[in-house]
């Protein structure tokens, strides 16, 4: 490289270093998230015992007598998230199977943009839809005892919201199954149903499971739709027609209020945020593991 002047060379090194610095921003972000969550949660756990946090049954940090147990919030979150999966898996997986196994080419081309539009709609819009349409026009006429704010409407809205995640990732997984496998099935005179459910779906299972896990993580972390539709009542209930509160809903409620830094109410944001962060992180890591370990490798 004798052609290149020393100046040119030092410019090259300088550019490489600054690009590396850009890449390190992502590590700084993760470090920042973990540091902020743990340091403020640490302050929280000096006032509240972790045993109470994990074993109690009442969450009432803003009312006397105060009580700090994560379970009612976690319960509300899981109820909405699993309810969302009940909506999203049949629609998302069904649509994916149709698109990859049955649909003519033009439907396939039209289908993707429709899913992208659904995926691009802001979550606050789904919240508006749950509050002003799903509850008053669908749930209440069918089940009059439905409360204005309820877990079911939030679950349906979040379910609709994660359909694109489920279907587009499942679609990718199904399409990655080589055609030779399908043709072998047809050569043994299997019907399209048998090829789809006994050959293609099992072969794509790792992708499908990962898609569902990623959708679950999104549903658990979803904020605006549940803040609008699910309500503000942290409680342990089996009834989806009652108002509940999710972890994200609680964090929004506290931040909209006037909570000075350093108070215990303020620190609850970080304790709940840390719980939320670790749950979604675990699910995401498991999803990546599933993809990496159980992927069928062809050719």
């Amino acid at each position: 490289m004798s052609i290149q002047s020393p100046v040119r060379k030092s410019i090259e090194t300088g550019i490489e270093k600054s690009l590396l610095a850009c890449a390190l921003v992502s590590i700084a972000t993760t470090a920042g998230i973990i540091w902020v969550l743990t340091s403020e949660s640490f302050a929280f756990f000096r006032h509240v015992s972790p045993v109470e946090f994990l074993t109690g049954t009442r969450w009432a940090p803003l009312l006397e007598p105060k009580s700090f147990s994560i379970w009612p919030l976690l319960w509300g979150t899981l109820m909405v998230a699993f309810g969302a999966l009940i909506v999203a898996i049949p629609i998302g997986l069904g649509a994916a199977i149709y698109l990859s196994e049955y649909a003519p080419a033009w439907v396939r081309h039209a289908g993707k943009p429709i899913l992208e539009v659904l995926a691009g709609i802001p979550t606050v819009v789904y919240g508006y839809f749950a509050l002003t349409f799903i509850t008053p026009y669908i749930l209440r006429p069918l089940l009059p005892q439905t409360e204005v704010f309820n877990a079911a409407s939030a679950a349906i809205a979040v379910g609709i919201m994660i359909v694109p995640t489920v279907s587009s990732l499942c679609d990718d997984a199904l399409r990655a199954v080589p055609r030779t496998l399908r043709e072998a099935g047809y050569a043994l005179s299997a019907t399209p149903l048998e090829v789809s459910t006994r050959i293609v779906l099992p072969a794509a299972m790792s992708g499908v499971v990962a898609a569902i896990l990623l959708a679950l993580a999104r549903a658990i972390g979803e904020t605006m739709a549940v803040a609008l539709a699910a309500g503000m009542t942290p409680r342990l209930t089996w009834n989806p027609l009652e108002s509940v509160q999710t972890m994200t809903g609680y964090i929004v409620q506290v931040s909209l209020g006037d909570t000075p830094a350093g108070t215990i109410e303020y620190q609850t944001i970080f304790a709940v945020g840390m719980t939320l962060f670790f749950i979604t992180l675990t699910i995401n890591l498991v999803a990546q593991r599933v993809l990496a370990r159980f992927r069928e490798v062809y050719e």
């Binding site: 390190l24 993760t30 649509a95 691009g120 606050v124 349409f133 931040s255 830094a261 995401n284």
Partner: protein, 305 residues
């Protein structure tokens, strides 16, 4: 030895299997149709509720508690414009830079693998957690003893833009890396053969070739930022403003926050206003999406590798 008679006779039951197949196909088709119907109902419902409220005053007026009829989104709209412009200024150079490093420079070592894993995990972190990070780091900041002041930026636009930048960085990095990976290595080798340096090769050949893909990724990332409300609530952006921000350290609101605030009120007038504001937001987003899809569809026809 098993005798042949132990194997049950094969009964094709073709009619039954075919009917089951028909049923399954119909079920899958209706799942797809269901998704379309939901989209149509959702959009139809919002247009129906908000159409009459979509007036010129919606864009030119500030929100008012007392007079919903002449309330508008002026403050929130300008807040969103400021926020997105700043987010783009911060996140695009950093995100593209990180992707260029990872795709073009990074050696395959432990640090690189860790950064990869880290980015794919960051993409799955709930947006509200980024809001918590922004609240602690950008809004409140740290106390610097030498200057005897805090690095905090209060509830300002710049704090919001920095938070949003961190949120969209993984999206921009992942999309840019895919676009760079799609550029064939023959282009790089040809440039090196003419004694171009690594950066000259990237700047003059690889980046221009990958530009459509990068643009698509950036537009999709920014359209995500436009619709996000949760991180902004966390960093204390106001949900009700009667001013247009004038500088980086002004407080601000944004369209999704205004929509949240209006939706949360029980009076039907505010629900209609929320629907009208949603239409404004969706028009902006659909335009951006259409541009992104346009770039993606048109690009390959002009290029043959």
């Amino acid at each position: 030895m098993t005798s042949a008679s132990a194997i049950p006779a094969f009964r094709p039951r073709l009619e039954r299997r075919r009917r089951a197949g028909q049923l399954f196909r119909t079920a899958c088709l209706s799942a797809g149709v269901m998704a379309v119907i939901v989209l149509v109902v959702l959009l139809g419902r919002i247009v129906h509720a908000g159409w009459d409220w979509l007036t010129p005053t919606l864009l030119s007026n500030y929100p008012s508690e007392l007079e919903p009829a002449t309330s508008g989104v002026k403050g929130a709209l300008w807040g969103t414009i400021w926020l997105i412009a700043l987010t783009a200024l911060i996140a695009v150079p950093v995100g593209v830079g990180a992707a260029v490093y990872l795709q073009e420079y990074a050696p395959d070592n432990r640090l690189t693998r860790f950064i990869h894993l880290n980015i794919s995990n960051l993409a799955g972190v709930p947006s509200i957690v980024y809001g918590i990070l922004g609240l602690a780091v950008f809004v409140r900041g740290f106390h610097v003893p030498i200057l005897n002041r805090s690095t905090g930026m209060d509830r300002s636009i710049i704090a919001g833009a920095l938070t949003m930048s961190l949120l969209v960085l993984p999206v921009i990095i992942i999309a840019t890396r895919e676009a760079l990976a799609a550029v064939p290595s023959s282009i790089r080798l040809a440039a090196y053969a003419l004694a171009a340096t690594r950066w000259q090769t990237i700047w003059h050949h690889v980046l221009p070739a990958a530009l459509p893909g990068i643009m698509t990724g950036i537009i999709l990332a920014l359209s995500r930022a436009i619709g996000e409300a949760a991180p902004l609530i966390m960093i204390g952006a106001v949900t009700w403003v009667a001013f247009v921000p004038k500088g980086l350290d002004d407080p601000f609101s944004a369209l999704p926050l205004q929509i949240y605030n209006w939706s949360d009120r029980a009076q039907p007038e505010f629900r209609h206003l929320a629907a009208a504001a949603i239409i404004v937001l969706l028009v902006v987003l659909l335009t951006m999406n259409a541009v992104a899809i346009g770039i993606r569809t048109w690009q390959p026809r002009h290029r043959q590798w």
